[in-house]
């Protein structure tokens, strides 16, 4: 139902609609993500007012390399919807943190783990790792042990500097 509505409203932004075991996944053009998301939240018949999760995926070797998946929930109709958007490496994504507040920290996590930047994000900085961390660990080309494994780990407190 959401797919048909979206297809009618944004015919060129909807790239693919999948249905699997009563779960709907809609692939959206990343450039139009804000219009689509605002429509999904405010449209009368849909009312997806809750962003459950926002995750990044790394398809190393494919083009475009990354995917961002949004899991939406409608508290009014008790429906769930998955929105996917493929992003190329180095290309910033538009933020949805002004549409759903919960996207704020999730986008920071995606930035932290994958290095995908978000346009107009209120406070885009690392959230899980330390500020001086180098690299984005959930990328497939990041070694699990980290680049400095096996070397001594030194802690220097502020007062010792």
């Amino acid at each position: 139902m959401a797919g048909d509505l979206l297809k009618g409203k944004f015919p060129e932004a909807i790239l693919n609609i999948e249905e699997f075991r009563r779960e709907t996944s809609i692939t959206v053009d990343p450039g139009k993500i804000r219009e689509v998301m605002a429509f999904l939240k405010e449209s009368e018949g849909l009312f997806y007012d809750l962003l459950l999760d926002l995750a990044g995926v790394d398809f190393e070797g494919c083009s475009p390399r990354f995917m961002i998946a949004y899991l939406l929930h409608s508290t009014k109709f008790n429906k769930k919807l998955r929105i996917k958007a493929r992003v190329a490496e180095g290309v910033p994504m538009d933020t949805v943190s002004d549409i759903w507040k919960s996207a704020d920290w999730m986008e920071r996590e995606v930035y932290d783990m994958f290095g995908i930047k978000f346009n107009n994000h209120p406070d885009l900085k690392r959230i899980l790792l330390t500020d001086d961390f180098v690299g984005h660990p959930l990328r497939k080309d990041f070694p699990v042990e980290g680049p400095d494994f096996g070397q001594p780990f030194n802690v220097c407190l502020e007062e010792e500097r």
Partner: protein, 164 residues
């Protein structure tokens, strides 16, 4: 050996006896090992038998830091600060495989053994170790404290004087 040395050793024995029977740990749990540490203070295991039941919420009042759990690199500066806030004399038990060596987490975000940050007195391996393991570690630490010679520890990092 002169009379003064012998007197100093006897005094050190008394000091060590007092220290080893009132090792107060700081309340500091990092991961699942902390639950085993909590169980060790329950009636079944009763860490109070060894004078270490007083888990102090403030490091200023603690003698022992039981590093119970995985030390992430983000937690490492906080752990070191709590250790530095503890007054001398102070001891450390690395409790569990993660605190000893990093354990199963050979990853970018976990410190591979807490001894890279602070000096460790007793290592208790296991994933997690049973509370008996902690009691055994504590008894080993007590034996270690009992053997400390006079003049081993500097007085709170000051160039003069020793504290026992």
């Amino acid at each position: 050996m002169g009379v003064e040395d012998r007197a100093a050793d006897s005094l050190q024995d008394v000091i060590n006896w007092a220290r080893k029977n009132s090792v107060w740990p700081v309340t500091f749990g990092l991961a699942c090992c902390a639950l085993e540490m909590m169980v060790a203070s329950s009636a079944t295991y009763d860490i109070a038998r060894f004078g270490a039941e007083v888990f102090r919420p403030s490091p200023r009042q603690a003698d022992l830091m039981i590093v119970a759990g995985t030390v992430t690199k983000k937690m490492a500066p906080l752990l070191k600060r709590i250790y530095e806030q503890m007054p001398e004399p102070k001891w450390v038990i690395a409790y569990g495989a993660c605190a000893c060596t990093g354990g199963i987490f050979q990853t970018y975000n976990v410190v591979q053994g807490v001894d890279q940050i602070i000096p460790v007195d007793v290592y208790v391996p296991g994933c997690p170790p049973r509370p008996e393991g902690l009691l055994k570690g504590l008894i080993s630490l007590q034996e270690k404290i009992a053997m400390e010679p006079a003049g081993l520890r500097n007085l709170v990092n000051l160039p003069w004087g020793k504290n026992g």
